[in-house]
Amino acid sequence: MSQTVLVCDDAIFMRTMVGDILAQAGFEVVGEAETGVQAVEKYKQLRPDLVTMDIVMPDMGGIDAVREICKLDPQAKILMCSAMGQQALVVEAIQAGAKDFVVKPFQPSRVLEAVQRVLG
């Protein structure tokens, strides 16, 4: 059975792209969220093997969502999706419990490497 992913990003564009990269690598995208609140909700419902999490999202940002999710499930495997210039935020996300990060613009190989590290 393929591993399941929850993709969290406020941009459809980004969700589509991340979803495609992972789907091509054999993952099953079981859900998408566009706000931090949705991410937490969907994590509860879906318990995916992997979560990709944007940092800047409306409602609840990605870092708070990471905290909430890790409270629910300390074993949650969360990969942060960040942009250039967000060092401090990424560090904060890692401290909050995210397992690794990728930086936009995404290169599929980098995303998949990071995913392997997160799941490995």
Binding site: V91, K104, P105
Partner: protein
């Protein structure tokens, strides 16, 4: 990666964000320095940045990056919001739009055609102080060089040296993660350079730490590599070489001054810049985005996950809506099919009526009802809220009123009213005309308003409302009203009205100002008054099957109401025959039909005219128009028919062989005959399967 498949999605979503940015900018300009608009703009800019970087649209990415940096400073209170900043932000939004359209439009190669805006980027950076952190170059030498740049930290534990891969993104974070990973093996006593420097990216590729652990060197290396982006790891003391002086790392190797050493922004093509400036200056021709080719419709019973949700319009609460994206062409195809089905239904019902079979009759009635429901569903699925076009207008009104020195409170009502997508695309321009008219000619300057006891700021209202099967779009201002005296004077002077006439009703007024070229503007301004104002609107709206109405009270304001059908695709048409051919004339343009009696025809200045009651109308013969030979009288005794068509103030009689009834027809655009034959606005398939061309009444001269 090949991102081209995502270009359309990028464009659609970026436009939505631009719209959001513009709305919040207006809010910000109006507001009291609240944090909310800045955060919202920041989020949108940030999202566009991420998307454009992924697409490889460097011009967009650069611009958004600088804009984001600036906004962040505003957000943190380092910069105050003032007119200068607002101008810069508005200008950035404009250029961002241009950059986005260009990047996706793909004029020329991706690199060559991309425009950046050195001057604007410079201004963004230079606004206030400029602490923009530019990405640093990877160290010279590269990973083949085993000359570790970080001094070995002094302390207990085994020395672990790490070199990151040259293109490691956010290497400070990666280094932090490696240190974290090492901590899981034992105590990390010192790190060189110190953690704080690592996190701030103030190192090149190397760092070192001392780890008190019992695990093997191989295991340490495995764990460190497992943290990612590691080029080299060495566990154990430096042998031959001694670290550079042992001095403080940060002091001996100061971080390069980013402002001075940062590579200059990407090379900019100068001609492209000129274009861009030109585009940006054409605020008078603020472009309405073309159909994005894609939009959202509510999905019926679709699973919740994976649904694309529209960017919520300003300040509305985000509700999880269930949406799917559908290519617009699919919806057009559906519309065509259902149209044909509707036509076939008509024919089927005719046939069933002629056959005395209750079972058949019942089935046909049932099918007919289902087809009707299906048509309604499909038409509903094509509906989009008017805000998709209206959201651009606040910005336009702001710019126009500033340019003209007017103060205007602009309100939009009925944003959620829905119209067929193709109708909405057509209606943008006419509304722009009406708004500009109101700003330019309707609303007075503040001092003139105050002088007559009105508030200094004029009110301008754009509203949409549903009225049975039509949508009413209204533009209302509280300005000076149409100057009837001047209209009347001009009409008298040009012989359009009886010289003795002293009063104009609203309808008469509309008929006059809707005449092509009729303008009373004293001065031609950049915005309107070139004689293409209300008449252009009138013609366009009529061509869409709608109607225009105007109510104007001197000194109190003007209301223009545009009444539009909900959809363009299915229209009722009159079928007319010429020889064996059938042509369709949309009923919206047919005022009446009469039998052609020879007594009705006259010749006036060498042209055939029709005298209908007291009107004299030009005569067109369908056979001439479509290149058929004139009818030979002897063969058919039945008189020809005249279809009286009207468009705006123009009326004409079209002589046809005979009338072949009315039908709902589905307008299909076609390409083949477009060159030269502007006579036809499209084609349709009739109930019996034969094709018919649709006469475009607006093309008849």
């Amino acid at each position: 990666m090949d991102a081209s498949q995502y270009a359309e999605l990028f464009l659609t979503e970026s436009r939505e964000h631009l719209s959001v940015i513009n709305q919040w900018l207006l809010e910000l300009e109006r507001g009291t320095g609240a944090a909310e608009p800045v955060s919202a703009i920041f989020r949108s800019v940030h999202t566009v940045k991420g998307m454009s970087a992924t697409m490889g649209y460097t011009a967009v990415a650069e611009l958004t990056h600088e804009l984001e940096t600036l906004l962040d400073r505003v957000r943190r209170g380092e910069l105050a919001i003032g007119p200068e900043l607002m101008d810069l932000l508005f200008r950035s939004a404009d250029l961002l739009e241009v950059a986005i359209e260009r990047a996706v439009g793909g004029r020329g190669s991706r690199d060559g055609s991309e425009v950046s805006t050195p001057e604007l980027l410079q201004r963004l950076r230079a606004f206030g102080v400029a602490p923009a952190a530019a990405p640093r170059q990877p160290p010279p030498g590269g990973s083949a060089n085993d000359d570790w740049s970080a001094p070995a930290p002094v302390g207990s534990g085994v020395l672990v040296r790490v070199r990151l891969l040259p293109e490691t993104p956010l290497k400070g974070v990666r280094a932090f993660m490696i240190v974290q990973a090492a901590r899981r093996l034992g105590d990390v006593s010192v790190v060189s350079p110190p953690i704080s420097a690592l996190q701030a990216d103030q190192f090149e590729s190397d760092f070192a730490l001392r780890l008190a652990t019992t695990v093997s060197a191989d295991e340490i290396e495995r764990v460190v590599r497992g943290a990612g982006d590691v080029d080299l790891v060495r566990v154990g003391e430096d042998s031959a070489r001694t670290p550079a002086d042992g001095a403080d790392w940060a002091a001996s190797r100061p971080a390069p001054d980013s402002a001075a050493e940062a590579p200059a922004s990407r090379v900019i093509a100068e001609p492209a810049m000129a274009d861009l400036a030109l585009l940006a200056q054409q605020t008078g021709e603020f472009p309405i985005p073309a159909a994005t080719g894609e939009y959202r419709v509510p999905a019926i019973g679709s699973p919740a996950e994976g649904g694309a949700v529209a960017v919520a319009p300003l300040a509305t609460t985000v509700q999880p809506q269930r949406h799917v994206r559908i290519d617009l062409r699919r919806l057009d195809a559906l519309m065509n099919l259902i149209g044909e089905l509707v036509i076939t239904r008509g024919r089927l019902m005719q046939i069933a009526a002629g056959v005395d079979d209750p079972a058949l009759g019942e089935s046909v009635t049932q099918a007919s009802r289902l087809i009707g429901d299906l048509r309604d569903e499909i038409m509903t699925s094509r509906m989009v809220p008017v805000w998709q076009v209206f959201d651009r207008f606040p910005r336009l009104v702001r710019d126009a009123s500033r340019a003209l020195g007017k103060r205007i409170e602009f309100t939009i009502e009925g944003k959620d009213i829905e119209l067929d997508r193709s109708m909405l695309d057509e209606i943008g321009d006419p509304i722009v005309h009406l708004l500009r008219n109101a700003i330019d000619h309707g609303i007075e300057r503040p001092e003139a308003r105050v002088a007559v006891g009105k508030p200094a700021a004029g009110k301008l209202l754009l509203s949409a409302a549903r009225d049975r099967s039509a949508v009413m779009v209204r533009v209302t201002d509280d300005g000076r009203g149409v100057d009837r005296e001047r209209v009347l004077a001009k009409a008298r002077a040009t012989g359009l009205v009886d010289p003795a006439k002293t009063e104009l009703t609203d309808d008469e007024l509309l008929k006059l100002i809707a005449r092509p070229g009729f303008s009373t503007a004293e001065q031609v301004s950049a915005l309107s008054g070139r004689g293409v104002g209300i008449d252009a609107v009138y013609t366009r709206v009529r061509a869409l099957g709608g109607a225009v109405d105007i109510r104007s009270i001197s000194g109190q304001g003007t209301t223009v109401t545009v009444r539009l059908p909900l959809t363009l695709a299915i229209v009722r048409a009159l079928l007319a025959r010429a020889a064996d051919e059938v042509y369709a004339i949309p009923l919206t343009h047919v005022s009446e039909t009469v039998e052609l009696q020879p007594a009705l025809l006259r010749t006036l200045r060498g042209r055939e005219v029709l005298v209908l009651r007291e009107d004299v109308l030009p005569v067109l013969r369908l056979r001439d128009l479509v290149g058929l030979p004139p009818r030979t009288r002897a063969r058919d005794a039945r008189p020809e028919q005249v279809v009286i068509v009207e468009l705006a103030e123009r009326r004409a009689g079209v002589v046809v062989d005979e009338l072949a009834g009315q039908q709902e027809i589905v307008v299909k655009q076609y390409d083949g005959v477009k060159q030269g034959l502007t006579l036809f606005g499209g084609a349709t398939i009739l109930g019996d399967g034969s094709p018919a061309l649709i006469l475009d009444v607006s093309s008849l001269q």
